[in-house]
């Protein structure tokens, strides 16, 4: 029996406290911000212009970071080291508004790839939660205690990672002429047996689940202002072997959730189950109400920051992106970010921190590390060479009819692999080490996703502390799988070695994620966000941020329905809108539609499930 499995109790508490670390702003003369403006009539819009409008059901919108005081950051760090709840108090009804905000911080905004809609959520009330608890208790390989008295339950379904990029992958690595046969064969296996072209594409699905798990745990606390806690179960739903062992129970779960055979055929599977319940008094998270709101609004604002001013900006970028800023990420911050990472890995694998430190393979490859410059150059060259080979080897019979769309996209991908930042990390795992630690590989991959997201969040939070008035932020992060996938193409088809092999030559490493940390005061152009929200910006190539009705189904009165889709209305509310952190143009002019409108109060204040469905509160609670 593996080390993390079948826990009657929660894993031991291992997380070390995090401390706030201040990022010193550059000299005042270098305080630049995005200062985006609306394109004038007749002027061509670029990614640096403000969007003309926003018509979206997503709770996110175009947001700005809210500056936090050191005291607030210190308090907020409690949200980055949450331990598992040990028990739930008597369940209480939840109002729709809180459920919406919880989901906004979870499945609707979790750091998903721009073009992967790989999650959907089913949310069930107290009666079904009871039944689900029974099923959870019977599952093998549990990673946490199944708690009684949950108020409601979220079940997340996930599907294999498929995007236009993965479509391209099917065309790679074939022999001339034979490719007429091998390409359709691989496409068939991918479509119907969900077999990935390269392993790291398969891992992406699990990285995303881990990222979501970490977000959901926090989302519950923020949305309920510390009154509720979430118990996330992931381990029983990892790996084919475990799914086979738990098959009958998983089928029962799927049946409760109304998963159709068509959805199963598309690869949708239960990825995690989150029990949500009232926190027992000693496990309530006590922060000021205003801080919960600010944190919620900031989580809506955090974005991937790809541009390091004066380093990798485009030629046509506005002036403020061109000058280097005399500021840096303090070494203490990277230490704390590492601590956050190991905390999360230990938390989600149920082991101790020392084991986490041993298992997570981490390499820093920035210019400040010895030989870092050369190493970066080598990596960039390797990735570029692979891209060129890919573009060259795409079968013409597939490329030409599409107007060379495949080879063009390949070349465009180079941008996505830009390794620019003051700290650059590659994270991965060793399969043999994971096996030796009795950990399930997929669970460890999920934990890497969660850990890197937690570490990123720590950095983003520090980048929001004492932001000088005109600036957008003090630090941002860009998390990527692109370089890893590109390296994996090289490994699978062109005999390249793993990115981490240099640092871990004896451990058969598999690199999984790369992130770059940047100290700067100017946020990326809003065009980067717009492509997530405006279908006209990128067409069908980019899926859009989901509205609640697209991602979440809820069971009420025995019937299924999407949330925030009622009487012909769809959600237009932005979560935590009351914090007012919306992008505006010069003179404070608004992006039309950006602030959204309120979901009718009569509906947002009503209980999601009738009060009578909840057992009466016990006196001792």
């Amino acid at each position: 029996m593996s080390q993390e499995e079948d826990r009657g109790n929660n894993p031991p508490q291992q997380q070390k406290d995090l401390q706030p670390i201040t990022i010193k702003p550059p000299p005042e003369a270098q305080w630049v911000n995005r200062a985006a403006r609306f394109a004038q009539k007749g002027e061509k819009r670029t990614r640096y212009s403000l969007p003309a409008s926003l018509d979206s059901a997503s709770p996110i919108g175009y947001r700005t970071r809210i500056s936090l005081t050191p005291e607030e950051v210190q308090q907020a760090l409690a949200l980055l080291s949450l331990e598992r709840p040990t028990d739930f108090a008597a369940p209480q009804p939840i109002i729709e508004q809180e459920l919406f905000e919880e989901c906004s911080l979870g499945v609707l905004s979790s750091r998903q790839s721009t073009n992967y809609r790989g999650h959907k959520q089913v949310t069930l009330g107290p009666e079904d939660s009871e039944q689900i608890s029974h099923i959870l208790r019977s599952l093998k390989h549990k990673d946490a205690k199944v708690l009684a008295r949950s108020s409601y339950t979220h079940i997340i379904f996930s599907k294999p990672y498929r995007t236009p990029f993965t479509m391209l992958l099917t065309l790679i690595g074939h022999k001339p002429f034979l490719n007429m046969l091998t390409v359709p064969l691989r496409a068939w296996r991918k479509k119907f047996s969900h077999i990935d072209d390269i392993p790291t594409i398969g891992y992406l699905q699990h990285l995303h689940i881990g990222i979501l798990a970490d977000a959901m745990e926090r989302a519950t606390v923020i949305a309920s202002q510390g009154r509720r806690r979430a118990q996330v179960h992931m381990a029983p739903f990892c790996s084919d072997a475990r799914r086979t062992e738990n098959r009958a129970l998983l089928r029962a779960l799927e049946e409760i959730c109304g998963l159709t055979s068509a959805e199963r055929a598309q690869g949708w599977r239960v990825a995690l189950v989150t029990q949500v319940g009232e926190a027992i008094p000693e496990e309530r998270v006590k922060l000021p109400a205003s801080l919960f709101r600010k944190m919620g609004a900031n989580l809506m604002a955090y974005r991937s920051e790809r541009i390091q001013p004066g380093v990798n900006q485009e030629e046509k970028a506005p002036e403020q992106y061109h000058a280097r800023q005399s500021m840096d990420v303090p070494e203490e911050l990277t230490v704390m970010a590492g601590r956050a990472l190991y905390n999360a890995f230990a938390h989600w694998t149920g082991g101790d921190r020392e084991r986490a430190k041993d298992l997570v393979l981490l390499e820093r490859v920035d210019v400040l590390t010895p030989g870092g410059k050369e190493r970066l150059r080598d990596i960039r060259k390797m990735l570029s060479d692979i891209t060129d080979r890919v573009a060259k080897n795409i079968p013409l019979w597939a490329d030409l009819p599409t107007g060379k769309a495949f080879s063009r996209n390949t070349a465009r991908g180079k941008k996505a692999f830009a390794l620019a930042g003051q700290r650059i990390y590659i994270a991965g795992l060793s399969k043999q080490d994971i096996a030796q630690s009795d950990l399930e590989w997929e669970l460890a991959v999920r934990a890497i996703g969660a850990a890197s997201a937690r570490s990123a969040l720590y950095c983003e939070l520090m980048g929001s502390m004492l932001i000088p008035e005109p600036c957008d932020l003090l630090a941002g992060i860009c998390m990527m799988a692109g370089p890893v996938n590109q390296n994996d193409i090289g490994k699978a088809f062109y005999g390249e070695k793993d990115l981490l092999i240099g640092k871990y030559p004896d451990r058969d490493p598999t690199s999984l994620l790369v992130w770059t940390l940047k100290a700067k005061t100017i946020a990326d152009p809003i065009g980067n966000e717009e492509q997530l929200l405006n279908p006209k910006r990128k067409g069908a190539l980019v899926d859009l941020r989901m509205g609640p009705h697209e991602a979440i189904r809820i069971k009420k009165f025995g019937n299924w329905g999407p949330i925030r889709h009622r009487e012909g209305r769809l959600n237009q509310e932005r979560a935590f809108w009351d914090m007012g952190n919306f992008v505006t143009g010069p003179e404070g002019r608004e992006i039309p539609g950006n602030r959204g409108s309120a979901w009718p109060k009569a509906w947002s204040q009503e209980f999601v499930w009738l009060e009578s469905l909840y057992p009466k509160a016990e006196q001792d609670d």
């Binding site: 609306f38 394109a39 004038q40 009539k41 403000l50 003309a52 409008s53 926003l54 018509d55 009487e567 012909g568 209305r569 237009q572 809108w577 007012g580 505006t584 143009g585 003179e587 404070g588 002019r589 608004e590 992006i591 039309p592 539609g593 950006n594 602030r595 959204g596 409108s597 309120a598 009718p600 109060k601 009569a602 509906w603 947002s604």
Partner: protein, 298 residues
């Protein structure tokens, strides 16, 4: 002073019959020293139809509330009486070309679905306006003798030779983007058939609201949506944020909303009132502006 003209109805008259009269009526206009005489229209014992209220609420996006009728709905009940007033032989202005420019509604208390209502509408007097003459159509809705809802519908009758100077005004280039300081802003898609849908509930089949070709006959490039739909839609949007009744709802209609359109709704909660507006999608042209505030209790 002219004597009061009184119209009493047993049931609500149909809007259609009044509309049919409009094109054929010859009216003298308001002569020097004259004004609009008081004309009253009364109907007692009106029971709003539940289905009609439901449809109205759905179209205007009021949330389904089984107890009370939507705040703007009584205007629908009063509309046939308004038409009876302006098509009355003693009414001196032509019905064709009248423009609904403003509306003020005071909702003294929510009206229950089940209540039987008495309606009194009247018009009296006029005032000069930059583009013509304005007059008010007053509505009082009572239940068991208690006035529960009041409305003033201000209508403009354009007069030749008036308001020409305004056209020469220099047009300012509007700044792109929505109004600063709004707290909410959302884009609404108003479909091409919204005029017909609203007409089916309100009974207001004025051709300018129906089809492009019927609107063109009356000088509009496309059909336009009813102002009272836009107003009701705004009120529905902010209903959840409103305090207890009595409330006063004010609206000023600016440019008509051509169908189909995407428009920008925005609202702002101020200390003692909630203001709202509809602009064109880019925020540059105003279609409607209004505010809602608590009115003193009677």
């Amino acid at each position: 002073m002219d004597s009061v003209q009184r119209l009493e109805f047993d049931t609500l008259p149909s809007l259609g019959s009044a509309y049919r009269k409009v094109p054929f009526q010859r009216k003298p206009g308001i002569r020097e020293g004259q004004t609009i005489p008081r004309i009253e229209a009364i109907v007692k014992g009106v029971k709003p139809e539940a289905q009609s209220i439901f449809e109205y609420a759905k179209i205007c996006r009021f949330t389904s509330d089984e107890k009370h009728i939507p705040s703007i709905y009584p205007h629908i009940l009063a509309s046939p009486l308004h038409m009876m007033l302006v098509t009355h032989k003693a009414f001196p202005l032509k019905g064709m070309g009248l423009i609904h420019v403003r509306n003020v509604i005071t909702e003294h208390r929510p009206i229950d679905y089940q209540e039987t209502l008495d309606l009194l509408c009247f018009v009296e007097g006029h005032r000069e306006a930059p583009k013509g003459v304005e007059f008010d159509l007053h509505t009082q809705v009572s239940s068991n003798g208690e006035v529960v809802w009041e409305g003033i519908t201000t209508v403009l009758s354009r007069q030749k030779g008036k308001g020409q100077g305004n056209k020469k005004k220099e047009k300012k280039t509007p700044l792109p983007g929505g109004d600063p300081d709004c707290q909410r802003s959302a884009l609404w898609k108003v479909p091409a058939d919204m005029g017909r849908i609203y007409a089916s509930v309100s009974g207001d089949y004025n051709p300018i609201h129906l089809y492009k070709w019927t609107a063109k006959l009356l000088g509009f490039p496309r059909a336009i949506i009813h102002g009272m739909w836009s107003f009701a839609r705004c009120v529905a949007e902010v209903t959840g944020d409103l305090p207890e009744r009595p409330l006063t709802y004010e609206v000023e209609f600016k440019l008509p909303i051509l169908l189909p359109s995407t428009v920008l709704f925005s609202s702002q909660d101020e200390e003692d009132k909630l203001s709202f507006a509809i602009h064109s999608k880019d925020g540059s042209k105003p279609h409607l502006k209004g505010r809602i505030y608590s009115s003193p209790k009677a």
